[in-house]
Amino acid sequence: MVNVMDNPPTPPTDAPDAPLMRIPTRRPSAKDLPPSSELVIRAERLTIRYGSFAAVHDASLEIPAHRVTAIIGPSGCGKSTLLRAMNRMNDFVPNASAEGSLFYRGDDIYRPGFDAVELRRRIGMVFQKPNPFPKSIYKNVAWGAAINGYQGNLEELVERALQKAALWEEVKDKLHESAYALSGGQQQRLCIARAIALQPEVLLMDEPCSALDPIATARIEDLIDKLKSQYTVVLVTHNMQQAARVSDRTAFMYLGELIEVNDTNVIFTKPGNRRTQDYITGRFG
């Protein structure tokens, strides 16, 4: 048994006029950052159609730098379509077409001649289900940079990307083992590391935690919170609590329309639109 008197508490050494209560320090969050006026992505009256069906209709949205913007809404409301429009992933969907404008750093990404491949390097994507390549952990991270002709030290790049994805400590001794040996949460962080290795500016995340358990989800959410100091994050999620926890801005979509965009704090305490209110309180339909 430990006698507490063996280790008596150290008397305070503060000056007599020091405040009685210490305010605990906390990890700085992007919410502590000054307001971002820098826009990375801006959609202007954007309509995305699959054939004649408008999955996103007349949407105008601004994505500020170094912030997490969450897009929420019921299934089929067009949130993933809007997300995929941001790096032209919809180009791979047959019959998909876009009207209106979507600007990345002021340049309309749907103008003829725009380099969509370079765009996808600058705007990376993380999908719903972790989708590592059937290769080693190392090759998963290094592959994208290698085929893009990366001239630097690949090992350093891999380590840096894995550290930023909060996975390095767990995999540093088994870099050449199969990525499939990792847990679901680790695989998802590997996919984030893979995206980061291409040194993007924006990370698009399409329900990145929907296949993960609560602990793995918490780790990804912590990671998103860290990443936003270096990257701009756009997150599609079905989980409203997750949007509330990790995002700075929230956009609510319904039936292809962007109903309301505001600070997350406002959306979840006093939304301006009745449909937003009904959706977040679960009274929808």
């Binding site: 409203m240 509330a244 979840f268 305490t269 006093k270 939304p271 209110q277 309180t281 679960g282």
Partner: protein, 218 residues
Amino acid sequence: MTAHFVDLLDDLRRRSLRMAGLVEEVVKQACEAVFQADPEMAKRVVQRDADVDAEEVEVECEVIRLLALYQPVGSDLRLLCTVLKVNNDLERIADCAVNVAERAKHVDARTLVGPYEDLRQMGPLVEHMLHNAVKAYGSQAVNDAEKVLSEEDAVDALYGQIIRRLVAEASASPAKIASFLDVLSVAKNLERIADHATNIAEDVVFVCTGEIVRHRTH
């Protein structure tokens, strides 16, 4: 699950309103006890305070349970926060009513004509404010709540007048100091009840609009 949560919220709101009705009744009885010098009524007020205390704890537990289990947002979150705050105000109002009732056997109307008359005006005014605050809380009507906010100044003015008169009379009749203190105590507690009624009205504005209107000059 959502329909179930909505039912639970409705139950909680009804329960909080029942408590508000009980507290309103207790305040009315406390004023009667003082102004009609009715010690039996005063005793009933003191006894009913235990019911209010028990109900306050029950309502608080239910709010905490709903927050923990359902993580509400938007208007549901505002409602739960408001129920919790109003719950606290109601319990404090009942305590003030007990303080008023406990002075019933002491306040001597015959010897304190001036301040006592002001006190007689203050009682119904405070009852009226509380009634309107509870009504606004029940109907969640911003207009009704704003009327309550506009009435606070009249109560404060009467309270100030009572103090000025007491100070003037106390220096002229120091032998009556105990009675003066009783009147002061009743006036102070009525003024506190008016403050709590104002808090409830402010919380009604919050639950309806999301705006926090506390600490603004009306």
